[in-house]
Symmetry: C2
Subunit: 156 residues, 2 copies
Amino acid sequence: MERDWFTNENCSVARTLEVIGERWTMLVLREAFFRVRRFEEFQRNTGAARNILSDRLRTLVDHGILERRRYQDHPPRFEYRLTEKGVDLYPVLISLMQWGDKHAPGEQGPPVVLEHRICGRPTTPTMVCSECGKPLTAREMRALPGPGAIPRAAEG
Amino acid sequence: MERDWFTNENCSVARTLEVIGERWTMLVLREAFFRVRRFEEFQRNTGAARNILSDRLRTLVDHGILERRRYQDHPPRFEYRLTEKGVDLYPVLISLMQWGDKHAPGEQGPPVVLEHRICGRPTTPTMVCSECGKPLTAREMRALPGPGAIPRAAEG
């Protein structure tokens, strides 16, 4: 394979996984998209151990994906809300969900269906080309070196 | 949060993460989409240790995401190719890449850009509503219980 223009160091997939590429982290984000905000609710819904949940929330706050806000002073209590950077992870969550719906379904079908508030209909999020609007498939795509490509020969 | 109709057991996101929710696994898949097929190439491009790579390849084969084929008899050598089930993970990879391009970029910009072979133009994969065609944002979506929803009260 002659693809030599990125390594894990400058790969956007690898960089994203550095932040959210851990199972509990994605489950915490799933809950955040369901408007869960409080530690106890995150814990109940994900089933994560408290120390793991604390750690993952801290990571997400440190990376600016969740914002930690005090909502009570005595005793101090905090809630966690998605930032814009966090909201941008929605396509990741949806694409994970869609694959699971199709390839790892329960007997009864998907537990969650989506409705598009704008048109009011049940929707299947679909990845399309920004230019021609046609649905994208992997085989119809070509990956090319971008401005951040680093030819491996130039590395050392 | 009154959302009570799924747990990790029947959640499509959690089920998908059970299979691919591990950093090395996604990096192996990244390579597979770049048409990497052989162990040595996976190893070189991902930087994974051999035992980890063996394990992740086995997991992906066991789940029908990669197919293992013998391409040489003496000595026996195998290659790994994406199945249709594997190709369906493309939106996951692309959405991880897009988030990284935007929120964890290198100084020079993205290492990879995409071209849509069908229209021949550089493209930004965009998630749209299957019904009205408008780009989707998290805040315009509503999640509703699907056929596989399990009311928590009915569990025990």
